[in-house]
Symmetry: C2
């Protein structure tokens, strides 16, 4: 089959890869309906994360089950399924508490390479959630978004305790940040401040439910959020970047007693304990347990209550994956979908 | 009046200080029934925090109202009252959300010097809570404990979400840590693990409701907590020290999705964002909003449901304050009460 392989920073190729097959009796193999490039794929693309030799890429997936192992009972060939970037058993104590990305048997999907025609999914019963029926093509982008960016933005909004009566600020205008805006709206937030200086992304944020746009960053961004909130700061701030600047911006824009939900994969972040102590904020985040939210998100998409697929503002065939990476790296695209 | 003044690290004296008087119409002046030395007073005593010239000491207080300003309506002369180490209006939006130590009008009590015969309390209506009647002498230590260490331990346990079905670990066996054990018990925790290697403190922890004692520290302490919790870590960990080692111990002893409540005043703590991200813990803490809990704590003490005064294992007259500091510095005493 064809699949995306990163050879070095900036060097992404579509190559012949071995077809995946059932290895463990709990595996499934799916045929991808579409796949996509993640903001986190840009860390190695930009040389910030190391690339240790040719690496299959991609961890976002939705598609049709082709084959299941002998112990798989909850999904069957022919079903359309969505999973997350960590396979999880969904039965251990950590999964039952809603932290499937820290499942005691978790397996990272990235190395299996979801930017491809087919994918092996370990722990299929725990990992995959089927849609009521096979969806029409128009819903595929939204289901694919549920696999990571929607679920991650949603977790960020939940971790920040977005809800009725709350003012929510979102740091980061990538797909995750934009979908955190959508999540905050769904969760009933009163006011949603998107921090973005890119006009097309501002527009999408407003479509997803933002009530205010703040273009300032860093200390100026914090000052602007305080201005908008009677000097107190937001109740809830979602951090969807992962840098030192964005984390500090999020913490400092949150009022005492407020909540920071951070979902940007941390890169070089060091938090000063004294500042954190006196900030009085709640801090929660990490790899989003997307699996926790999949049944709800699938329902919302199936019933066309949300349209997260709008974040894909570039759609290319799998063979043009290199162009997709380049467009995202240069911020010409929010998120690129790859047709398989 | 007589009061404690710190001149330099290790140099604590009882001197004549000017009698406090009403400055603002929202002030009260109280006659202290007893006062005490706080673990946080040891930071300057040990030269870790700077001492900028002679400084009145003490921020824990309970006593009889002597005089009130013209705008004070909720307390009156003759009442026995308890307050916290930050004066707060208890009416601003931050106070109403339960974060009185971040009140927009807060005033730090420390510089006013509660280790003395009398004390001016700003924002008396918001800060002070009266007991139903003037209590007997036997209850004074417990009410004094409510002023800081009990309220701080309580906030730590609440921030760590101690409650029914939970395994709670407490890092730190000072007065705050020991009272976090008491709080976890009152909040209904199933299992309470006190981390202590000091026999008298272990004994007090068990009296307050600890079910297990762990003597190991650092990585060994973390390993022992994991052993006791099926490899997962505790649901809730209270950090009551404030050092880098104790913070890491707390974070690492917490299971994914669990809660760290940190109340040790941070000194030299730097948290690695990547470790925090993948730990999946909730982090909350800071200067405990003791005022939030005072009505409940006063009720528990008044009705003799709890006896937090037991943490005072050394009782000296105010004039011997220097001995009290020395005993706590040398860990010969958990906490020293000063009779006024």
């Amino acid at each position: 089959m064809r699949g995306v392989v990163m050879h070095a920073p900036g060097d992404v190729r579509v190559e012949q890869r071995e077809d995946p097959r059932i290895v463990a009796p709990t595996d499934a193999v799916i045929r991808l309906s579409a796949t996509c490039v993640c903001g986190s794929d840009l860390w190695p693309y930009r040389g910030i994360d190391a690339v240790g030799g040719p690496s299959p890429m991609g961890h976002e997936y939705a598609g049709i089950v082709e084959e299941v192992g002998s112990e798989v009972t909850s999904v069957r060939p022919g079903q359309f399924v969505v999973g997350s970037f960590f396979a999880s058993d969904n039965t251990c104590e950590i999964c039952r508490a809603g932290y499937q990305t820290s499942c005691i048997r978790r397996e990272l999907m990235g190395p299996l390479g979801a930017q491809a025609e087919r994918l092996r999914v370990p722990l299929a019963d725990g990992t995959l959630v089927a849609t009521p029926e096979v969806p029409g093509d128009d819903l595929i982008p939204s289901f694919l978004a549920a696999s990571d960016v929607l679920g991650t933005g949603w977790f960020g909004a939940v971790a920040a305790q977005a809800g009725p009566g709350k003012t929510v600020a979102v740091v980061g205008d990538g797909a995750v940040g934009l979908l955190a805006v959508l999540a905050a709206r769904q969760l009933g937030a009163e006011r949603i401040i998107a921090m973005s200086r890119h006009e097309p992304r501002q527009k999408l944020a407003l479509e997803f439910g933002a009530t205010d746009i703040v273009t300032e960053r860093g200390d100026d961004g914090v000052a602007r959020i305080k201005e908008l909130t009677g000097g107190l700061g937001a109740h809830s701030v979602v951090e969807a970047v992962g840098t030192q600047e964005s984390m500090l911006q999020a913490i400092r824009a949150t009022r005492p007693g407020g909540h920071v939900g951070y979902v940007g994969v941390a890169h070089g972040v060091r938090l000063d304990g004294t500042e954190l102590f006196f900030s009085h904020v709640h801090l929660h985040g990490g790899p989003a347990p997307v699996r926790r939210y999949l049944p709800e998100l699938i329902d919302l998409i199936w019933n066309r209550r949300i349209d997260p697929g709008k974040v894909f503002d570039l759609r290319l065939p799998l063979d043009q994956a290199a162009d997709a990476y380049k467009a995202m790296d240069e911020r010409r695209a929010v998120k690129a979908l790859l047709r398989v």
